[in-house]
Structures are given as structure tokens and as C-alpha cells.
């Protein structure tokens, strides 16, 4: 069995992966055929699998996932405004994926993490590394269309939003986070 706070954070991850999957699935359906459509379709499938890994992990730990409201990334739009084109979507995704990898690394290093949670994180992080790579490559290729400085400014805008959203999330769940990841 795991604590209620552990159950909450694993459910939080699961909700976030589901939101990401649904979003990328819809976009993959909209995009014209080409390398971005190809990689975004895999990205969507990966996120769906990650949601399944967390569901399965929670079940194997003897609990059911909690039904949570908004996912972490839902708050990005309020903080940074809506991404309006595919470059902006990739920029916001790159920022989000970096946050995900950092969070999973923090969790994996925390004391007393269950082996099943650790192995689930390790499995997911391998995919997340590829997510960051394909998006970085796609953004590099977009420099001729959008301009490097526009792309850099867009990433910076979303980084700022991410810092705000992360700080707000930590404030809102301070007690849980202190117990899960004591300094």
C-alpha cells in the first residue's frame, strides 16, 4: 500500500499524461502528413501509454487512481495565453516536457520510493527524452519559417509561464509535496 499523498501524486501524473495524450491526439488528426504529424502521432501514443503505466502502477500498489480536475498543463493557457500556431504548440510542449523530466527525476531520487514507482518513472523518462529531442529538432527546422529569435522568445514566454504555474502548484499542494519530497 502507499500513502494518500503518494496516491495523489501518481494520480496527478496520470491525469497530466491523459490530458497530453488527448491534446496531441487531436492535433495529430488535424496536421497534414509529414514529419511533424509522424512524430506527434507517436508522442500522442506514448502519453496514452504513460497514463496506462500509472493506472497499472496504482492498481498494483493496491489503490485506484484519484479523479482529479484540471491537469498541470491546463493552467499554462491562463498563464501564457493560447499557442496560436504549430511552432508555439511545440515550444510550449518542449517547456512542459522539460518540467516533466525534472519532476520525475526529483521523484525518482526521493527517499523511500517504491521500486514499482521507480521502474515506471524510468520507463516513461526514456520516452520523454525522445519527446524533447523530436521537438527540439522540429523547432530547429522551423527557424527558416519563423526566425530563431521569434522561437527563442516564444520558448522564453512559456518558460516564464511554467515557472508561475509550478510555483502556484507547489503553493497549493505544499503539505503533500513537503511530505513526498522533503528537502
Amino acid at each position: 500500500m502507499i500513502s494518500e499523498n503518494e496516491r495523489w501524486i501518481l494520480s496527478f501524473y496520470r491525469t497530466s499524461e491523459i490530458s497530453g495524450s488527448l491534446f496531441f491526439g487531436r492535433l495529430a488528426k488535424s496536421l497534414k502528413a509529414g514529419p511533424i504529424q509522424h512524430d506527434m502521432t507517436k508522442h500522442y501514443a506514448d502519453e496514452a501509454m504513460h497514463a496506462w503505466y500509472w493506472t497499472d502502477c496504482l492498481n498494483k500498489l493496491g489503490v485506484e487512481p484519484l479523479e482529479l480536475g484540471n491537469a498541470y498543463q491546463d493552467q499554462y493557457l491562463a498563464a501564457a495565453g493560447m499557442p496560436v500556431n504549430i511552432m508555439e504548440i511545440l515550444a510550449i510542449t518542449q517547456v512542459f516536457e522539460r518540467r516533466v523530466i525534472n519532476q520525475y527525476a526529483v521523484h525518482s531520487r526521493a527517499a523511500g520510493v517504491h521500486e514499482l514507482v521507480k521502474s515506471t518513472i524510468d520507463r516513461i523518462v526514456e520516452d520523454e527524452k525522445w519527446h524533447i529531442k523530436w521537438i527540439r529538432d522540429a523547432l530547429n527546422k522551423m527557424e527558416s519559417e519563423y526566425g530563431k529569435s521569434t522561437i527563442d522568445d516564444t520558448v522564453e514566454r512559456f518558460l516564464q509561464a511554467d515557472r508561475e504555474v509550478y510555483a502556484k502548484t507547489v503553493r497549493e499542494h505544499e503539505e503533500r509535496i513537503r511530505e513526498l519530497f522533503p528537502k
Binding site: R26, S30, L77, M82, V84, N85
Partner: protein
């Protein structure tokens, strides 16, 4: 709703109708986009759909002034040249 649409306006409105799966006749220029697409991620999907369909790129400045169907049709039409 205006009765005479330029070719670009007509193309843009057609793309919006397809993205929303609604007949063009239902898309009065004065309708607020938030009333048509309540969820933020669905609005992003709609905007991307239109750009893919029309082969155009919108930027932040374009959408800053967009509130209604007519506004969105106008900025897409301008991007069509």
C-alpha cells in the same frame, strides 16, 4: 452576416465551418468564438485546423484582436493575401 463575401473570406469561413463541423450558414460573423468553442484546447485545435486547411500561419498579433467569427475570418482572409 454579410451577404457578399470576398473569395478569401469565403475560403476562411468554409475552413472554419469544416473545423467546427458546422454549416457555414450557421456561422454568423457576430457570434463569439468562446460561445462556439467553449474549451480552450478545442479552440487551439480549431485554429490549427484552419491554418492547416488554408496553408497559412497565424501569429499572436493576429489573434489578439479576435473575438468573433467575423474577426477570425478577417485575419485568416488577410493571411491568404
Amino acid at each position: 452576416m454579410s451577404t457578399t463575401l470576398s473569395t478569401n473570406d469565403a475560403k476562411a469561413k468554409q475552413a472554419l465551418g469544416e473545423a467546427l463541423k458546422r454549416p457555414v450558414e450557421d456561422l454568423d460573423d457576430r457570434i463569439l468564438l468562446n460561445d462556439l468553442v467553449a474549451e480552450s484546447f478545442a479552440l487551439i485545435e480549431t485554429v490549427i485546423n484552419i491554418q492547416e486547411d488554408l496553408n497559412i500561419r497565424l501569429v499572436q498579433e493576429d489573434l489578439r484582436v479576435v473575438k468573433t467569427v467575423g474577426d477570425l475570418v478577417r485575419v485568416c482572409s488577410q493571411r491568404l493575401g
